[in-house]
């Protein structure tokens, strides 16, 4: 990859309930030799609540941060949270498309934003800029037995005109990144179905019903773990899994890991550094199953030898029978 430097905008939830996403993201980006700097004194992007008030207002709250990135002389921002990313991408899209919208937004700001910053999700940076080869080169450990359903949630790739990344109906970037890290990935029909987003507190039952579907479909796909790239998806699926079980009468116990945590595990990083202890549904079994790539090779060789020594009973050869009379 090229020696580029990025701005890194963690966003509010990565300072709180999603601190493990931040920890694992920074650790993995460091492993991948990505240079990044935090814009000084960044503020909240406005998220969903701002765009229920006014579009210019929402864009201004996001653009204040993009202007900070311009100020430190960078032109690409990594945003791990899809809600922040969408706030940035929408502000950028609106302001580049319409001069009057741009002026209206800048009227609300202390320092104008000149529209020189491209926002990318961490997933997009890894997929497009860092590349799958670089992702796989760092892998030192394997997670045998782990079967992951990559869950993209709703706004990571949509609407396509604004997101400009991956396929809006069948995204594959996370699948491919995890595959590059040597992880067993399961095709998952509900990969873009909404988890209930920000309604967790206000409409808990609704979110429980929606997440129930996502969890059930992941199990049906043969997964024993779900990979996410959004703090809100993680919260709804992990923290609320107990609520789902009590309201829906289910018995889920499926770990919900940030995709960066899974990659970090395959890079041999310590579970503590990846914030694995912050997950509500325990990922202990996944951590314990981790072995080095060499160990895995040895294990596979021994298994192959055992198989070779004890050949399975040969199936009785079916000799070509003369066709029975009809």
């Amino acid at each position: 990859m090229t020696e580029r430097e990025y701005a890194y905008y963690s966003g509010c939830s990565l300072e709180g309930t999603a601190s493990e996403y931040d920890a694992s993201m920074r650790a993995v980006l460091k492993e991948l030799d990505v240079n990044f700097r935090e814009p000084d004194d960044w503020s909240c992007c406005g998220s969903t609540p701002a765009h229920t008030v006014n579009h210019v207002f929402a864009a201004a709250l996001a653009a204040r941060n993009l202007a900070l990135v311009e100020k430190i002389g960078l032109n690409t921002i990594i945003t791990p949270c899809p809600s922040c990313m969408m706030a940035f991408k929408k502000a950028q899209h609106g302001m580049t498309k319409s001069e009057s919208f741009k002026n209206e937004v800048n009227e609300l700001l202390d320092e104008p934003y000149e529209c020189g910053v491209e926002s990318k999700s961490a997933l997009q940076v890894m997929y497009e800029d860092i590349g799958l080869d670089a992702v796989s080169q760092r892998v030192t450990h394997a997670l045998p037995g782990l079967k992951v359903a990559p869950y993209y949630g709703c706004i990571l790739n949509r609407p396509p005109e604004v997101a400009q990344f991956d396929d809006p109906e069948n995204p594959i970037s996370m699948d491919k990144i995890l595959l590059s890290a040597g992880v067993d990935v399961r095709d998952f029909a509900f990969k873009i179905e909404c988890c209930g987003a920000a309604f967790g507190v206000v409409k808990r039952e609704m979110v429980n019903q929606l997440t129930y579907k996502v969890l059930s479909m992941a199990l049906d796909a043969g997964a024993n773990c779900i990979a996410v790239a959004c703090p809100l998806c993680q919260q709804n699926l992990d923290l609320r899994q107990g609520q789902v079980n009590s309201t829906m009468g289910s018995n889920f116990n499926i770990p919900i890991l940030y995709f960066t945590q899974i990659i970090g595990l395959t890079y041999g990083l310590s579970p503590k550094a990846l914030g694995m202890d912050k997950l509500i549904v325990s990922a202990e079994q996944i951590i314990r199953s981790r072995i080095t790539v060499e160990e895995l090779k040895k294990r596979e060789e021994t298994e192959a030898q055992v198989k070779a020594k004890k050949p399975e009973k040969k199936p009785v050869k079916e000799e070509a029978k003369p066709e029975e009379n009809e």
Binding site: G16, S43, V53, H55, I155, R158, C194, L279
Partner: protein, 188 residues
């Protein structure tokens, strides 16, 4: 769905207002139903999103602005992504919510309260103070124990920061709020 008398309460200005504010052309919708088919919330809506579009085409301002649907839409962008007429449906839903807010007709008071509590926190600290939002929402909404079952889980896993992270430029963030409010007042 309720029976609506289309002949006596058509508001043509409303159609114009939504079209102008959203930058979308609602008359392009030919009711294929793709948006509703994909909408994850449709079972909770009082009017499915395709019906909201139809109501909009026929200028049914009151029905739309009093509906629950416009507040229960979470902007997941499925409708926009799948619209064969390339209408940004989610943006229209967003615009309808903005107009409902402006006209003080909010059918889902708790949702608006949650959003407002979020924005208050942002205005005060520059960033979001999660614990503060939850506590303030619970107090103001009267749902004192909402999500109280999650408290011990969050705390025992150290997923919480007990104090707000105040940024240096919080006055600058607050200024964005103030300038916006001044602008709204000027237009009134």
């Amino acid at each position: 769905m309720d029976v609506i008398n289309l002949s006596c309460n058509v508001d043509w200005n409303f159609i114009e207002e939504v079209a102008k504010e959203s930058g979308q052309n609602p008359s392009l919708c030919y009711q294929c139903g793709n948006c509703t088919a994909g909408c994850p919330y449709t079972q909770y809506f009082d009017y499915p999103v395709s019906q909201v579009m139809r109501l909009l085409q026929s200028g049914q301002k009151d029905t739309i602005l009093n509906s629950k649907s416009i507040w229960l839409c979470a902007t997941c962008e499925t409708c926009t992504t799948r619209c064969p007429c390339e209408i940004d449906v989610a943006h229209i839903m967003d615009t309808l919510r903005i107009i409902a807010r402006r006209e003080n007709r909010v059918s889902e008071k708790d949702i608006k309260l949650f959003y407002d509590t979020f924005l208050d926190s942002m205005k005060q600290f520059g960033r979001i103070y999660e614990v503060g939002i939850l506590l303030a929402y619970n107090l103001k909404s009267g749902h004192f124990l909402a999500d109280s079952d999650l408290g011990p889980k969050v705390m025992s896993h150290g997923k919480i920061h007990f104090f707000p992270k105040k940024i240096k430029g919080r006055d600058k963030v607050a200024k964005i709020f103030e300038r916006f409010q001044d602008k709204v007042k000027k237009h009134d």
